[in-house]
């Protein structure tokens, strides 16, 4: 299956946010793919507030199944969440469960004025009432395929498909 060029999708996402940027967003990326996107957006949109990073591992609802195996890098929110307009950034939006976990975690840091969501790819398949305000591209993909954003050595983003449970 031919996947779109991630860099082009990213540019289109950035333009959509820019066109709408009437608010002083605080950017928060969800580990790991969301953080790469948020870092790029932070630069490109010249946002003044420091970038926040969320590790939703402690808030996941499938902890019983997956355990605490992988290396957990900590959450870092270097700004006051109370009263902030937060732009949450993730690479791929699917069931919505990761975003649910991220929202829960943000509320443990304070009460934001608003939270909106930006995602590079919306592949549908929602299991929760969650929607992104900014979407790079919408893709329909077979259920058994996982989609992830990768960061190449040159700093370029790419989209990758692989089969669930494979070691890839």
């Amino acid at each position: 299956m031919q996947l779109p060029d991630a860099e082009k999708v990213f540019n289109s996402l950035a333009r959509k946010i820019q066109a709408d940027a009437n608010k002083d967003y605080a950017l928060v990326g969800i580990r790991t793919g969301g953080v790469w996107l948020a870092e790029r957006l932070h630069q490109e949109l010249a946002i003044t507030k420091p970038l926040g990073i969320l590790s939703v591992a402690f808030y996941r609802d499938d902890f019983d199944k997956i355990g605490l195996h992988t290396q957990i890098k900590p959450t870092e929110i270097p700004f006051e969440v109370e009263g902030a307009h937060i732009l949450l950034v993730d690479d791929v939006l699917n069931t919505g469960r990761t975003v649910r976990a991220a929202i829960n975690e943000l509320f443990d840091y304070g009460r934001p004025a608003s939270i909106v969501l930006a995602t590079l790819v919306d592949r549908g398949g929602r299991e929760l009432p969650i929607a992104a305000k900014y979407i790079g591209i919408e893709l329909e993909l077979p259920d058994e395929k996982m989609l992830a954003v990768k960061l190449g050595e040159s700093g370029k983003l790419s989209l990758n498909l692989y089969v669930k449970n494979s070691t890839e």
Partner: protein, 319 residues
């Protein structure tokens, strides 16, 4: 007969935490690394995360220790688990109920985890062997055998201040013979690659063949503290202070108590640790305990994060 390490499940994942002995390096590092993330949580305004929501953790203390029990309780609560404290030293055991009957009764109440403290070496192993799969056991101190979470929080503290284990000289000072903390520290330090671990004590407080654990034995503080990076003090129990182990607390303090003067023999940037509670004026002088090389209070803080990490890792590893 071939016995699988009773801490690990069939897939080699950590099922119980009973001792630091025999734990692979990667597993120790995984616990320490995970604890780093939990330190972040403990520094927030809202210190609670929903990771163990709905889990029941029983603090099973057959030997009373308010201090240790509290740190496990805080760790469990910050993970949103339900904590049930049982001070069995004064309840069922005094009525003659057998240890494993108590465990069976509590298992029937759908326990997910037991945190066990017991005066007998091996008690946590016994319980871990007995419980149905799916229940996790954390050893919070068994006799003179092991106290793995204390040792892990000590390792965490050392790494925070010294960053790397591979160029350190570490001295453990005091009652090694009766200390579960010392045994767990020694196994953790050697696994993490500390090139020189020393123990300093009079001969009456050292177990036989202790050097086989991979430590260098000193009886003289002046020699033992030379060029040391980390000093790990041990608590001297009241009942050991006079009698057949030692003549008096005063003589012990004079020769083995840590004073500013003795500390000056170690490296200038050496850190001083103590598992608490301290006997000031017996194993450590107040000036040192409260001095700028002391990291005794940070140990307590990190202790919560390390216990959160252990509880989370165990819960995530289903049998």
């Amino acid at each position: 007969m071939i016995n699988r390490n009773p801490q690990l499940n069939e897939n080699g994942a950590l099922q119980h935490l009973l001792t630091t002995e025999g734990l692979p390096l990667s597993m120790l590092l995984h616990i320490l690394d995970s604890a780093e993330s939990f330190v972040g949580v403990t520094e927030r305004d809202v210190k609670k995360i929903p990771l163990l929501r709905g889990k029941s953790i029983f603090n099973l203390f057959f030997e009373s220790s308010t201090r240790t029990r509290t740190t496990f309780e805080i760790a469990a609560k910050r993970l949103s688990a339900d904590v049930i404290n049982l001070n069995i030293a004064v309840s069922a055991q005094s009525k003659g109920e057998a240890l494993l009957d108590t465990v069976d009764n509590l298992s029937a109440m759908n326990a997910d985890m037991f945190v066990v403290r017991h005066a007998q070496s091996g008690a946590a192993h016994l319980i871990a062997k007995h419980v149905r799969s799916g229940i996790h056991v954390i050893n919070a101190g068994d006799g003179s055998h092991a106290h793995p979470t204390q040792a892990l929080l000590d390792m965490f503290t050392i790494r925070r201040y010294k960053h790397d284990f591979h160029n350190l000289r570490v001295a453990i000072i005091g009652d090694i013979l009766h200390s579960r903390v010392a045994r767990s520290q020694i196994h953790a330090l050697t696994t993490l690659g500390v090139p020189e671990v020393r123990v300093i004590a009079p001969k009456t407080l050292l177990p036989k063949m202790v050097e086989r654990l991979g430590v260098h034995v000193y009886h003289d503080m002046a020699k033992g503290l030379k060029d040391v990076d980390v000093l790990m003090m041990l608590r001297l129990q009241n009942e050991r202070m006079k009698g057949a182990n030692l003549p008096s607390a005063e003589e012990y303090f004079k020769y083995y108590g840590l004073t500013a003067e003795k500390l000056s023999l170690a490296r200038r940037d050496a850190i001083v640790m103590h598992p608490g509670p301290m006997n000031r004026g017996v194993e450590i002088d107040s000036a040192v305990a409260d001095g700028k090389q002391s990291v005794i209070l940070p140990q307590v803080t990190f202790g919560i994060a390390v216990r959160m990490a252990v509880m989370s890792i165990l819960t995530g590893n289903q049998a």
